[in-house]
C-alpha cells in the first residue's frame, strides 16, 4: 500500500512539473492524457504485477525532463533575451557595469580628499558594501529593459510571418547611422549622474574654499531624498533612450517614435519634480550671503535669480528635450526619403 502511494505521488509530481509550464487552457487535457500514458508505460513494463517505485522512475526518465517535455508541447522557444538582442545586451551591460564600478571608485577617491581622516575607513567600507548591490541593480535594470524589448519584438515577429526580400531594410546612408560612441558616452554619463544623485546628493552645490571649507547645496536634501526614486526613473529613461539608439543603429520612424515617447515622459517628470520650489534649497541665498569672504555683487538681485531658477531649469530642460525630439524626427524623415 505504501509503495502504491509512493508511485502515484511520483507521477503526480511529474505531471505537475510539466503542466505548470503550459498555458492554463491546455493543462487539464494534457495532464489527463499524460497520466494515461504513464500508466500504460508502467504496466507495459510490469505486466500484471504491482508497479514499484523504480518502474515509475524508469518511465519518467524515459519521458524526459519536465521542462523539455513542456517545451515540446509549447512548440516555441522562450527567450528572456534572444539571439537578436544578445550582442547589444552584453555590450550595454558591460558599459553600464563598468560605469557603475568606475563611478563609485571615483566617488571613493573624491571622498579621500574631501572627508576627515577618521571617516575614510568608514567610507571605504560603505563603498565596498554599496558596490555589490549597485552592480546587481544595474544588471537587473539592463536585463529588464532588454527582456521587455525582446517580448515586444517577439510579438512583432509573429505577426509578420511572411518574409519578402523587398522588405529588407535599405543599408542606411552613412549619415543615418548612429555612431556607437555617442550613446555609449551618454549611458556612461547618465550612470555617473545616477551614482552621484543617489550616493552623494549633498555634493551638488557651491563650495567656498576660503577659510573653513563651507558648502551650500542646491537642493533641499529631505525633499530631494523623498523624490529620488522619480529622479532615478527620469535618468533611467535617459539610459533607455540611448539603448534604443544602440539597438536601432540608425535613424528611422520607430526610433523617432520611441524617442518622442520617452522625451514626453521625461518632460512630464521634469516639470513634476523640479518646477515646485520645494525641492530647491530655500536658504540658498541666505547661506551665500552668510558665507565667509562673500562679496555681494552690485546690480544683481540674488533672491530674484534664485526664485526663478526652477522655471529656468525646467525651461532649459524642456528646450533640450524639444530639440532632441525634433532633431530625431527630422533625421528620420530625411534619411527615409533620401535613403
Amino acid at each position: 500500500m505504501e509503495s502504491k502511494k509512493n508511485t502515484a505521488d511520483l507521477t503526480e509530481r511529474y505531471l505537475y512539473a510539466v503542466t505548470k509550464r503550459l498555458p492554463a487552457a491546455q493543462r487539464a487535457d494534457i495532464e489527463k492524457e499524460l497520466r494515461g500514458l504513464i500508466e500504460d508505460m508502467v504496466s507495459g513494463r510490469t505486466g500484471e504485477n504491482e508497479p514499484e517505485k523504480k518502474d515509475v522512475e524508469a518511465v519518467l526518465l524515459e519521458l524526459g525532463k519536465p521542462s523539455e517535455l513542456a517545451a515540446k508541447y509549447r512548440g516555441s522557444k522562450n527567450y528572456l533575451i534572444g539571439p537578436d538582442y544578445f550582442g547589444t545586451y552584453t555590450t550595454v551591460l558591460k558599459i553600464v557595469l563598468a560605469a557603475v564600478a568606475g563611478g563609485l571608485t571615483i566617488a571613493l577617491i573624491v571622498g579621500f580628499f574631501t572627508e576627515d581622516r577618521e571617516h575614510i575607513l568608514k567610507s571605504s567600507i560603505n563603498f565596498l558594501s554599496g558596490m555589490i548591490p549597485a552592480l546587481f541593480q544595474a544588471f537587473g535594470w539592463v536585463t529588464v529593459i532588454f527582456a521587455i524589448m525582446q517580448k515586444f519584438n517577439a510579438k512583432i515577429d509573429e505577426e509578420n510571418k511572411e518574409w519578402n526580400p523587398k522588405e529588407l531594410p535599405e543599408v542606411p546612408a552613412e549619415k543615418a547611422r548612429i555612431k556607437k560612441g555617442e550613446p555609449i558616452a551618454g549611458i556612461i554619463f547618465t550612470v555617473l549622474v545616477i551614482i552621484l544623485f543617489n550616493s552623494a546628493p549633498n555634493l551638488l552645490g557651491i563650495y567656498n574654499f576660503s577659510g573653513n571649507m563651507t558648502f551650500i547645496p542646491f537642493f533641499d536634501l529631505t525633499v530631494f531624498k523623498s523624490i529620488l526614486p522619480l529622479i532615478d526613473v527620469l535618468l533611467g529613461l535617459g539610459i533607455l533612450k540611448e539603448v534604443f539608439r544602440l539597438v536601432f543603429e540608425k535613424y528611422n520612424f520607430k526610433l523617432a517614435a520611441a524617442v518622442t515617447l520617452i522625451n514626453v515622459c521625461s518632460v512630464l517628470l521634469i516639470v513634476y519634480i523640479f518646477l515646485p520650489p520645494d525641492i530647491w534649497n530655500a536658504h540658498f541665498v541666505e547661506s551665500i550671503r552668510a558665507a565667509k569672504g562673500f562679496i555681494p555683487p552690485v546690480d544683481v538681485d540674488l533672491d530674484y535669480i534664485w526664485r526663478n531658477i526652477p522655471i529656468w531649469f525646467v525651461g532649459i530642460s524642456l528646450f533640450g528635450n524639444f530639440v532632441d525630439t525634433i532633431a530625431t524626427i527630422a533625421k528620420s524623415i530625411q534619411y527615409s526619403i533620401t535613403k
Partner: protein
C-alpha cells in the same frame, strides 16, 4: 575518433528519422488510435518513437487540423483517440507522393554516384 563518428552517424540518422516522423504517424491514423497504442505499433513495425515526442506531435497535428480527437471513457482508463481528418487524409496522400519522389530521386543519386 571512431566513437565520435559513431555519435555523429547516430545524430544524422536521428535527423533523417525526425523528418519522416509526421508521415509515419499519419500513415497509422486511418482508424482512431490512442497515443500509447501508436508508440507500441510503430515500434513493432521498426519505427521506434519516443512518447515524449509523439504526444506533443499529436497535439500539434490536431491544432493544425490534420487530426481530430475524442476522449474514450468507456474502457478502464480514459483515453484520447486521434484519427485523420478530411484535410489530414488529403495531406497524407500528398505527403506519400512527395516521399515516393524523394526516395526515388535519392536512391538514384546514391546508386549513380556522381557520374
Amino acid at each position: 575518433m571512431s566513437e565520435d563518428n559513431q555519435d555523429f552517424v547516430k545524430g544524422l540518422a536521428l535527423e533523417l528519422r525526425r523528418g519522416t516522423l509526421t508521415l509515419s504517424l499519419l500513415s497509422q491514423l486511418m482508424t482512431p488510435k490512442y497515443g500509447y497504442a501508436l508508440v507500441e505499433s510503430l515500434e513493432a513495425k521498426g519505427i521506434p518513437i519516443d512518447p515524449g515526442t509523439l504526444y506533443p506531435l499529436l497535439r500539434r497535428l490536431e491544432k493544425q487540423e490534420l487530426l481530430t480527437s475524442e476522449w474514450e471513457t468507456t474502457g478502464s482508463k480514459p483515453r484520447k483517440y486521434y484519427v485523420l481528418s478530411k484535410s489530414g487524409k488529403e495531406t497524407y496522400a500528398k505527403m506519400c507522393k512527395e516521399w515516393a519522389e524523394m526516395a526515388e530521386n535519392l536512391n538514384r543519386l546514391i546508386n549513380e554516384g556522381d557520374k
